[in-house]
Symmetry: C2
Subunit: 198 residues, 2 copies
DNA sequence: CAGTTAAGAATACGACTGTATTCCGATCGT
DNA sequence: ACGATCGGAATACAGTCGTATTCTTAACTG
């Protein structure tokens, strides 16, 4: 047996380069060759790690979900809804990369059944765990119990996605972005029926 | 002077073909040649009407805004917020086309300052007119007056965009889509602080 | 009726695409 | 030490892209 490398790790590195490139120059700028240049490999090397370009793109999409879940897991136990939502907003370079790529994939997935299923399942998973969080908060008396937790969870994910789209068009930290974040906070409170941010 | 055609009308026809094609086969399938085939012209004819492909794409984006505004204008005077939001949701083929294209453009615009400005202005215009609508409703006592109309308007557009993304992944009329629409209704009511849909 | 001029078709061109294939070098088991 | 085998680089190929250019057709003006 000759030299052996960690195949999965290499695939992750390449997928990361896809995200960086897609965020910086757009999804249409992603080609085998440009990705190879982005991570300092030869085009042939990149090719060896994925059966097809689509596989590579899907791996990049998966990576965004992995990153999001890792951030969720790193949150303290008493983190509220607002803190969770913030993890999906393009507030730093990493999350901005993910938001751009996910948005582009969402548009493409509208006419590709398999991609659409992948995304829809991801949405549903996030929404379900959010609903679980909300139900516990209702049981603890932290939230009014007269609202449907699933409806609230769907509304919260929609709010998060909607504000993400807006924030993508604004430079982070700009006054308009701050204004949007305040509106998001107010919207979350209204949706949950609480007076102060939880 | 030889034969003269309505240049603007032709550009609109071509932009419509771009929307149809992008919705059916994805933004990446849009090329001068494929658009020409879509509207039964020669590639050279399409080329003559736009200085560059980017111009053509931007015209298609403009067309989505024109369509949305036309639907807004066609709404009865007493139409509520829910009715307005529905005009931007992918509930039929035409609105589905627009939603797909706008989503794809939003992703691309994240690294193109001019596109981003175009979209951000469009968002702001929609949001401002929504805020105006809400302020009037507050003055008429239809809505609680203790909420900031601009924050509510930002939240409503975000909800609309967020649910649009979700709906794009589901076949129209499916049970999941209906479920989402009910959640949207509930979210709008919670955001506005009203018990029944307005 | 000739001539000008716009619309549209066709073609040409260089660049880039994804993928298949070939080739080289390094590393491990034997 | 030798050779099997994998990682990786390089190249080849057919196709498509946007755009520039050329050519044809048709209509209006003088």
């Amino acid at each position: 047996m000759p030299r052996v490398v960690d195949h999965d790790e290499r695939r992750r590195v390449i997928a990361g380069a896809v995200l960086r490139l897609a965020a910086r120059e757009g999804l249409e700028a992603v080609s085998i060759r440009s990705v190879a240049a982005e991570c300092g490999m030869s085009a042939g090397a990149v090719q060896k790690h994925f059966a097809t370009k689509e596989d590579m793109m899907l791996r990049a999409l998966e990576l965004t979900e992995e990153r999001l879940e890792r951030r969720y897991a790193a949150l303290p136990d008493d983190a509220g809804v607002g803190e969770h939502i913030r993890q999906a907003l393009p507030l730093d370079e990493e999350r901005r990369e993910e938001a751009i790529v996910i948005t582009a994939f969402t548009a493409r997935a509208a006419n590709r059944a398999d991609w659409g299923r992948f995304l829809a399942e991801g949405y549903l998973a996030v929404q379900d765990s959010a609903a679980e969080l909300l139900r516990r908060a209702q049981a603890d008396g932290l939230l009014p119990a007269d609202r449907d937790a699933d409806d609230m969870a769907a509304g919260l994910t929609a709010l998060s996605d909607g504000f993400s789209l807006r924030l993508l068009q604004l430079p982070p930290g700009s006054p308009e972005a701050d204004r949007l974040l305040r509106a998001l906070d107010a919207s979350v409170r209204a949706l949950l029926g609480v007076a102060s941010s939880w």
